[in-house]
């Protein structure tokens, strides 16, 4: 079910909290199988965008289509195509990895019998197979994150959303996780939207969308956007220009 030309399409998305405009007209389109980094400083509107994409709130204006399905018109089917890794961990620390995964599978309507082999497979893919029986509390931060990514793949989504998934992790763990997800996008034709405020998590061949102050300030391949400069320099310029 991953043949759609468009993995994620966002158009004219606006949202405000009271009088504060958090997003003022966001548009971008990801083709299926693309790895896209959504780069923006803290407070740029990344988390609001994620809340709208996952239907925690409904936008004031604009639309979201996931694999061609309109989120507002058909939330059930659209959400079923989406795997999400939230910025905050969403794990039951006192349950085992397997129990956490089974719970998630059930929330997506996948019963135990069907879920167990899938859990084995996704954990294997993320190098976590040995940890299925461990309590989540005993896992380190990197393993917990990997487990959450594995979990988000359980219902075989076509779009994977990750909201600053590497926050609080050391450099090496961050690298492993970013590599894993790049690999997933390439091998599984999974559309990935990876929100971050860390420029070093973006590869040159990645699609890059830079968001600042609720609007998109750059959109293209990372290497094209940065040109001869480092991404960090370009990012600083793009986001400083808006602030000034």
């Amino acid at each position: 079910m991953r043949q759609e030309s468009s993995g994620l399409s966002v158009s004219g998305l606006k949202h405000s909290y009271g009088r504060v405009q958090a997003l003022s007209g966001v548009d971008f389109d990801l083709e299926a199988g693309a790895f896209c980094a959504l780069l923006g400083p803290n407070g740029a509107g990344k988390s609001t965008l994620f809340s709208l994409l996952t239907r925690l709130f409904v936008p004031d204006a604009g639309s979201v289509r996931i694999g061609g399905i309109d989120l507002a018109a058909n939330p059930g089917n659209a959400l079923a195509k989406m795997g999400v890794v939230f910025q905050q961990p969403t794990l039951d620390l006192d349950l085992s990895v397997q129990q956490n995964m089974l719970y998630y599978a059930a929330l997506h309507g996948v019963g135990k019998r069907e879920a167990k082999p899938r859990i084995g497979a996704v954990l294997e893919r993320l190098g976590m197979a040995k940890r299925a029986g461990e309590k989540v509390r005993s896992l380190n931060g990197g393993h917990r994150r990997r487990m959450e990514i594995a979990r988000a793949l359980l219902h075989e989504p076509s779009l994977l959303l990750l909201d600053e998934p590497t926050v609080g992790l050391d450099i090496e763990t961050r690298r492993t996780i970013t590599d894993h997800v790049h690999q997933l996008a390439a091998e599984e034709r999974l559309t990935v939207l990876w929100a971050t405020h860390l420029a070093d998590e973006v590869n040159d061949d990645d699609r890059l969308v830079v968001i600042n102050d609720g609007t998109i300030v750059a959109d293209g391949l990372c290497k094209d956007i940065r040109g001869n400069q480092t991404l960090l320099q370009v990012f600083a310029e793009l986001t400083a220009a808006k602030v000034a």
């Binding site: 909290y17 009271g18 958090a22 988390s47 609001t48 809340s51 996952t54 239907r55 925690l56 709130f57 409904v58 939330p75 059930g76 089917n77 659209a78 959400l79 079923a80 989406m82 999400v84 939230f86 905050q88 961990p89 969403t90 794990l91 039951d92 006192d94 349950l95 129990q99 089974l102 719970y103 998630y104 599978a105 059930a106 929330l107 997506h108 309507g109 996948v110 019963g111």
Partner: protein, 264 residues
């Protein structure tokens, strides 16, 4: 098994696993009503004369009178505690997991409610067992008949908790819920004293008690424990449940409810 049922089983199982993990909570849920029963009722029985009124056919001791109210209290606390755990879930993110499930949101919230109710019923039966050890027992048919009453009263009190969790911004402070929800609901009800006794003090208080849905939950439980059916109480409890549930589903609606105002 269809998808709705799969999610129901999983949500109930998760709550049960978490509850078993929190032994302190179970103990507190039992100690609280036992203190009321053993200490408070013993001291209070001399001060309060009870007359014969339905469902009682004879004079009863104060301890017998207060047991249904304490069953209600167990469920009231449990309902509020699950509302706190919902706020906790929201802050810890697991609420997001629930809300981004492709299944209909009202169904998921209802599953949460059922899970909380199941736990409150286990607590009530454990309390009734302990009360039995202290000599306050009911007929077997009463123990059976009280089950459906506990289901509906548990759902009603749970939905009140759900409503609170959807409307109140932060519930970290349990004292606030104690002061503004649990205490008024509990004391302005027939849990500790019958309506006519309240009327002696003030007709206004009596009227408040008569409208308090918790009063009707307690009366439903009281009648059921004595093998009788109180249709009026059932109607009130069902009505309150429907209102609380509808309001909380609205509260959790991404387009309309209070959830919209929160960034997190």
């Amino acid at each position: 098994m269809n998808r709705a049922l799969i999610s129901l089983v999983a949500i109930v199982q998760r709550e049960a696993l978490r509850f078993v993990g929190q032994r302190g909570r179970f103990l507190a849920a039992l100690v609280r009503p036992m203190v009321w029963l053993v200490v408070f009722a013993a001291g209070f029985r001399a001060a309060l004369g009870l007359s014969i009124e339905p469902p009682y056919q004879t004079y009863i001791t104060y301890e017998v009178y207060i047991v249904p109210g304490l069953c209600g209290m167990v469920q009231l606390f449990n309902g509020m505690q699950s509302s706190l755990s919902l706020v906790y879930d929201r802050e810890m993110g697991s609420m997001r997991l629930l809300l981004t499930s492709p299944l209909p949101r009202w169904w998921l919230l209802f599953c949460k409610l059922l899970a909380g109710t199941a736990i409150s019923i286990a607590q009530v039966y454990a309390f009734l067992f302990l009360a039995g050890l202290f000599g306050i027992s009911f007929s077997w048919s009463g123990y059976v008949a009280v089950l459906p009453a506990l289901v509906i009263s548990g759902l009603m009190l749970g939905s009140l908790g759900l409503l609170l969790s959807s409307t109140i911004r932060q519930l970290e402070n349990f004292a606030g819920v104690m002061n503004f929800v649990i205490f008024p609901m509990f004391f302005l009800s027939t849990a500790l004293y019958p309506l006519w006794k309240m009327a002696e003090a003030s007709t206004l208080l009596r009227d408040i008690c008569a409208y308090n849905p918790f009063t009707h939950a307690v009366e439903l439980i009281r009648f059921a424990l004595h093998g009788e059916f109180n249709a009026w109480a059932l109607l009130w409890v069902v009505l309150s449940f429907a209102i609380f549930l509808a309001a909380s589903v609205r509260g959790y609606d991404p387009a309309r409810g209070m959830i919209r105002r929160r960034a997190g």
